[in-house]
């Protein structure tokens, strides 16, 4: 459905004719109905332009020497060509050498503006956030100081607001800055994709920003905060990177979408992108729409990186160069290379509109936005604004100068110019019905009757009575109320409200006849509408400068309005609105806390006075402190920022919520207190973050790193809780440098622990030299303590032992004679065992073993045990015999020998030799049992006269013969 006529072919005349014709008709028949006079029809739908603020002074806080031109800003250093004198020409020149970005918060919120040179003519620019009425909310030099070395103003690619009023600025290499309305950075600047590749395009959408690089890769950064469910980031794509702010309240989820592979595979390139909000997708994650050079669009599901070609080639005949989603997410406006505006359903199944603009301009419009849900507004530089309706109808709006910025809204379009702000809006249906010329709607009749009544004309009230009789009165009243809320003009609002109230007089009475005292639902609606209008009018007042429509107000909800007001730095207003509307307690508390914070920031007086007033503001009349937990910390933080730590401390005394108190204490520099609170609350994360925060502040306050470290450790040891100290110790233990943990421990005089840390590192060390060094150091540290004699001795022994093992290995030229080990016993044992392999050197080896035992003062008994075990394990049975028969009597008796032989499965004769030398009967009995020599065991049991032992043999022996013997013996013992 291509529009037949050329929209730019003298359109002003045409519309103007229509306009005059209509108004003349109107003039003839109605004397006082100016409402419709200003409407313009797009097809049969009326549209209106509502001027909100005219003659806006876009303020700037920069020195007057700077040149500011309305929304644009130029640095002093930008020298203009000498020959230009005419102000219009100068402006023109500026406009051709610079570009001014203007973006606005959705729902009538503030505006951000930033002028960027097209060439490298100036290096920094001003990033301003202004209200609609031109008041400055924040201003800063951009790029920020830390980034000026790498970036210029010219690098700014795009800026925009998310639906949570976060200002996002994207640079050419995808470095992304985020600010709140106060101009404070929310997240550390981060790269959305690899920094080396420049971006083709970046678009800020309601949930974040999406970018397309020159090598056809895309990426998306979703900006989230603590209001979003934690599960959301869990269900995001695996490769999603999470970038968190320092206080963890905000974070970005960055997903890189490898679309270049797709482009390569399908031999296409991408020209533009649009993001489909996660609120409207089935996956509940955003989807990225990328238009391809082969006239199609691919949809990338961000959570799965699944790419689907929607294949709309039949419907679109040239590549799409710009795409915008309608506010309701059902339609997509596309502008193609061949200058055709196509509106298509989001599923790409139904095409709504094709509109050719090529005859007016061969260029892509500088802006394309939706105006509400049913028309698209386009702006070309030098050609004005064109509005296209669903059936190909169009309207052209002339704007004097060419600096027009369009802001799409859910029910209208904000138009920002150099000096004014207006709203372009489809006349709400209720208003259109009621106020259109010659309307015979009951509501229109009600308005007329009311007008007549209040103007004092002696009108009869029959009209209204007739309406009431036909049961149409209540709907008519409601229509009036609804229409009133949608008006911007206070006079008109009042007129409609008055009409509603007039109508209610007739309806209300009939209800009251039954004696019901409760207000009727209509009456309640009236109150709601009046309240809403009061709030809206207050917001629209130039000193607030927030131009929300009724529908936007409903979308935001009153709570959202309050939250935004606080973000707008109007806490007092937020506070009174929340109270006026009777919003939930939590909202009121939040608003009050913000108000108190603002008060503290500005207040003068003694700490006690300020704290008292702040507390009163927080309490707002309700005396329960526990209800307001968290609020005190918020205000205390603000107090601290304002340089009033005294006030902060007083307020924090009242705070009971740990989650809020610890960060507040940290921000006031009360690190030890924060640690105490965190420890008391048993929160390891707070304990640790208090430590890290304190370390950071120590390092920041001192130029000498080692001194700062020393101060930090000293404070941790002396002032922090023990658990804080140990948490730091645990953390330092994981770091590569062992010195860091030993320093801490030595400072705390915990020499045993310090030496242990050092020695444990030595045990992990493989390099022999390093190991010895660490052990020597450990030994030195152990030497400092009082109760660490054993530690020191053992450490020295160990160091010595390693050396001895080394010597043994070289001496016998075999690694297995003394493999590295930390125990004296195993070294002696391995030497003895080695004798089994090296029979020739047996004597030398045994003497080596003996020397070792002597050197390390191994007690005689233990040395014998070691020998027995080692000999048995290495099957040196003859040597075991020799040992048992040596001149010195075994200090450990012969039981271990016997046992070794039993376990070594030696012959009974061999075993018996040893058992015979054991004297105690019980032990002999046990050994016989262990050796399964049941007969002998039975004999021992007999000698011991122990029936239990006899019975035991009987059950275990598994032999009839012995069982008989056992029975016999039992019989004997029983006698």
């Amino acid at each position: 459905m291509v529009a037949s006529s050329n929209p730019f072919d003298d359109p002003i005349l045409e519309t103007e004719t229509a306009y005059t014709e209509q108004s003349s008709v109107e003039d003839k028949e109605f004397s006082a109905s100016p409402a419709e006079a200003s409407w313009q029809y797009l097809g049969d739908l009326p549209y209106r332009r509502i001027p909100i603020y005219s003659h806006v002074q876009w303020r700037s806080s920069c020195p007057s020497s700077m040149q500011q031109n309305c929304l644009a800003w130029y640095p002093q250093g930008l020298s203009k060509p000498q020959h230009l004198v005419d102000p219009k020409e100068i402006r023109n020149w500026y406009q051709t050498t610079t570009q001014t970005h203007v973006k606005a918060c959705p729902h009538g919120g503030p505006i951000a503006t930033c002028t960027v040179p097209l060439t490298d003519s100036f290096r920094t620019t001003q990033l301003r956030i202004l209200t609609n009425s031109g008041q400055i909310l924040s201003q800063q030099e951009f790029p920020p100081a830390d980034y000026r070395e790498r970036y210029n103003a010219v690098d700014i690619l795009c800026l925009g607001f998310t639906s949570r009023t976060t200002l996002v600025v994207v640079l050419n290499d995808s470095l992304c800055f985020t600010y709140n309305l106060k101009g404070q950075a929310l997240l550390q600047p981060f790269y959305v994709c690899q920094e080396s590749i420049p971006l083709l395009q970046a678009k800020v959408y309601e949930g974040g920003v999406a970018v397309l690089t020159k090598n056809q890769d895309a990426a998306i950064a979703e900006l989230l905060d603590h209001h979003d469910e934690e599960e959301y980031s869990q269900t995001s794509h695996l490769s999603a990177r999470r970038i968190e702010s320092d206080d963890l309240s905000h974070y970005a989820l960055v997903t890189i979408l490898p679309t270049s592979e797709y482009a390569k595979r399908h031999f296409c390139t991408f020209s533009t992108l649009a993001v489909f909000s996660r609120l409207r997708t089935t996956s509940q994650h955003p989807e990225l729409f990328l238009s391809t050079s082969d006239n199609s669009v691919i949809v990338v599901e961000v959570s799965t990186i699944k790419m689907t070609d929607v294949d709309c080639r039949v419907r679109v005949n040239s590549p799409i160069v710009d795409m915008v989603f309608a506010p309701n997410g059902r339609f997509l406006a596309c502008f193609t290379e061949s200058c055709i505006l196509t509106v298509i359903s989001t599923s790409f199944e139904t095409k709504v509109l094709d509109f050719d603009t090529s005859e007016g301009s061969q260029q892509v419009p500088s802006q394309m936005e939706w105006c509400g849900e049913d028309s698209v507004v386009l702006h070309w530089k030098g050609l004005g604004v064109l509005m296209v309706g669903p059936y190909g109808d169009w309207l052209r709006f002339p704007y004097e100068d060419d600096t027009v910025y369009l802001v799409p809204e859910i029910d209208c379009c904000r138009v920002i110019t150099d000096s004014a702000i207006e709203i372009l809006q489809r006349v709400p249906p209720v208003t259109a019905q009621m106020l259109s010329i010659g309307s015979i709607e009951t509501s229109a009749m009600l308005v007329d009757a009311a007008d007549a009544f209040y103007s004092g004309t002696s009108a009869d009230d029959n009209t209204v009575r007739d309406i009431a009789a036909s049961d149409q009165l209540i709907p008519a009243v409601e229509t009036c109320l609804e229409a009133a809320t949608r008006e911007f003009d206070i006079v008109q609002q009042k007129r409609l409200l008055r009409a509603a109230s007039y109508g209610m007089h007739f309806s209300y009475k009939s209800i009251e006849a039954k004696g019901v005292v409760q207000p009727s639902p209509t009456a309640q609606e009236f109150v709601v509408a009046a309240r809403k209008l009061r709030v809206l009018n207050r917001l629209r007042h130039p000193n607030v400068g927030w131009i929300a429509t009724s529908a936007q107000y409903d979308t935001m909800t009153p709570i959202g309005v309050v939250a935004r007001l606080i973000a707008l730095q109007r806490p007092a207003l937020a506070c009174s609105i929340s109270q006026y509307l009777g919003l939930p307690k939590s909202v009121q508390i939040f608003a009050r806390a913000s108000k108190a914070a603002a008060y503290v920031m500005a207040a003068e007086g003694t700490d006690a006075q300020v704290a008292e007033v702040a507390t009163e503001i927080i309490l707002g009349g309700a005396g329960d402190h526990s209800l307001h937990r968290g609020a005190y910390a918020t205000v205390a933080m603000a107090a601290n920022q304002a340089g009033r730590p005294g006030v902060a401390n007083l307020l924090l005394l009242l705070e009971t919520s740990v989650v809020d108190k610890v960060p507040a204490l940290l921000s006031t520099g009360a690190y030890a207190d924060a640690m105490a609170v965190a420890t008391q609350a048993r929160d390891l994360d707070f304990i640790f973050s208090s430590l890290m925060e304190y370390e950071r502040s120590c390092l920041a306050n001192s130029s000498d790193v080692s001194k700062a470290q020393a101060a930090f450790l000293g404070m941790v040891v002396s002032k922090f809780t023990p658990e804080g100290f140990h948490t730091l110790r645990r953390y330092l233990q994981t770091t590569a440098d062992v010195k860091s943990v030993t320093n801490l421990l030595i400072r705390a005089q915990q020499f045993a622990a310090a030496g242990t840390a050092m020695a444990q590192r030595a045990l992990q060390e493989h390099d022999a030299r390093e190991k010895q060094g660490l052990l020597a150091e450990a030994s030195r540290i152990f030497g400092l303590g009082k109760d660490t004699a054993l530690h020191k001795a053992s450490t020295d022994d160990y160091a010595e032992l390693i050396r001895d093992q080394e010597t043994l290995r070289t001496k016998h030229n075999a690694p297995e004679v003394a493999p590295p080990s930390s125990s004296v016993t195993s070294t002696i044992a391995s030497v003895i065992k080695f004798a089994a392999i090296q029979m020739r050197d047996q004597h030398r080896l045994f003497s080596d073993a003996e020397k070792l035992a002597k050197k390390y003062r191994v007690p005689e008994k233990r040395f014998w045990h070691i020998q027995v075990i080692a000999l048995a394990e290495s099957q040196q049975w003859s040597n075991l015999r020799i040992l048992s028969e040596s001149k010195t009597k075994s200090p450990i008796g012969y039981k271990p020998f016997a046992r070794a032989a039993i376990r070594g499965k030696q012959s009974s004769a061999e075993i018996l030799k040893y058992i015979d030398r054991v004297s105690a009967n019980e032990e002999r009995y046990d050994l016989f049992c262990e050796a399964s020599l049941w007969k002998r065991a039975l004999e021992e049991a007999g000698k011991l006269k122990d029936t239990r032992r006899v019975l035991n043999v009987k059950t275990l022996c598994n032999s009839n013969e012995i069982q008989l013997l056992a029975d016999e013996m039992l019989g004997r013992l029983a006698q």
Binding site: S283, I305, R682, S822, R862
Partner: protein, 687 residues
Amino acid sequence: MLANMDNPGIVADKESEIILPPPTPLNPLPAVSVALRLDNKEQLLTLLQSDPSAGLASSSFRQLLVFGTESLRTLLLRQVLSDPHARTFQGKKKNWDSHLFFPLPASITIVGTQILNQEHGGDETEGNVDVITYFLSPADLSQMHLVAKYIRNLKKSFRIHHRLIFLPQPSAIIHKMMKDLGLTSAPNVSIHRLQMDIYPLETDVLSIEYNEAFRECAVESTPSSLISTVARSLLKLQDVCGKIPRIQAYGPLGEEVARKLFSLTVDEYLADRDRPEEQSGQVISGGDVTALIIIDRKVDLVTPMISPLTYEGLLDDVVGIDCGFITLDVSTINPDENDNTDALKQDQVKEKKKELVSLGVNGSDTLYAEVRDQHVEKFGSFLQNQAKALRESHANFTSKDKKKDLAEIHQFVKNIPVFTQNLRSLTNHIHLAELVKHTSEETTFRERWQMERSILEGDTCYDMLDDLVACQFPPYRFFRLLCLQSLCAGGIKSSRYDSLRRDVIQTYGYEYLFILGNLEKAGLLRRRDGLWIDTTSPFNNLRKSLILINAEVDTVEPDDVSYVSSGYAPISVRLIQTAMKGWNGRDEILREIPGRIVDVEQHSPPQDLASALKTPPNKTLGALAEVEVADGVKGKKPVLIVTYVGGVTFTELAALRFLSKRPSFPYHIVCLTTKVMNGCSFLQSLS
């Protein structure tokens, strides 16, 4: 798309199919374990299924699972992912899995599983893996280094995505370490949490699986994370079973957990600012659970040092039970009959085909449920009788001389699956019981037990300890006795202490110096300086006042909890028994227990512990139970949750089950613990 929508068959709404069994002494809260199990499984499955990585076209991705510890692998794959209580096995004989086989759902492509600290061939996996998922514990900081090393080894391929899962959540230290190790900036590394909190290992045993619990508070002196984890788990448990009106806590950690629990409850309550106003301070009522006892492991360090004498305890001692599973060579439970004759040959065969298998041991196996808590003197004959009975019933049927009608045959056929299942289980346990009995009949075992007993009775056995070191007794077995000696006698005599420590270091190695240090820090070991007399040790006093030694106990038909170790009753269990009668006039016991006893009621609206302590409850736990019984269904005992902060042993579990089943004890008991452990694993966790 949400991951679980792709596989509706797995995480579908299963609640409708579940039929809860009626409460019994061994399953007093049927809904709790089922609910927790479902929730855990769903969480884990969602995680495993989520996120096809770089593969664009295919929605399936190949995943390698790397676990911080073997125990975690068993827990997640065998306990959480497939319910071992409901698992059935095909085939006649087998009811175990090969050690490295895990019952994974078919919808997930899992290439393999590894344990972090074990050697592995990193290269072979590289080619065919898209995602490596690491399951880690936030308490074990050393794991982070291993992970970093692992990732660095695979650096060559950026294609592989590494995701680090922390159970239950990463701590601030972990985040900082990630930063230090350069993992946060890597685009292919991500961090996740898996908030599973409680794992129902049995119907009456819930575990938090916090392996480092006792170490963290006793050795590292950083108890906060343990305290808040346990408190949070208790909060979650209360979400399932309702608020618990009465809470008692023993030991310093018990009080801390109670305090944190109360403060969390208050926080939760106050977070909802727009709640309706509440005025009165009523005691909460109406939950499934009547009382909660929180016990700090520090209150009873003696019990873990004692050798268990129940079947389950011994099985754990000999083979090792971890998360409800034992891992052992297949020939142990399924020996090849033919080779049985020639011992030597069998050894060779063993060498050749040493095949490790994992066998589940849990209460859903009716035979095991019956035998697990039996004393060593009973279970052998019990199993024999069972075998005999089974054989008889089979023989009865197959014998030709009896005539059977159709109904009988029908009945028999119907019982065949039960029969085979019982037979399998019986065969397993007869073999296992042989193994266990064999160990318990060894001389060393008997000597150890005798030594334990004489130490418990107040003797000092320094010479025997000397001998044990000299004989190179396994180190942790030795430490058990050493610590027992120190605990019972209030320390080790100064002169002996130094020589013993020297012996230990020389025998077992230099590193044992630090283990001894840790044991000292944990209070398991201390030097006793001269002047004191033996009888003053707290344990000696408790032994008398709590009647810990009951040498006359009947181990076959037990009449007292002390049967679990042939005459010693675990302190913690005796405390629970005494708590029923109340603590009035039992100061001689209270004096010997570290910390103070907290006995409070939960009120609504919630208050913090300090204010709750101001209104002490006026009923003893026993009296409270009587009220409950009078109000409730006849014959149904109210439920008591016993929480062990720092781990529980099988000995104690057996004793608690014994109480739960006794008509004279007023409660059914569910045990919540940070970990089910034994003396050796307990001591090892400290090193």
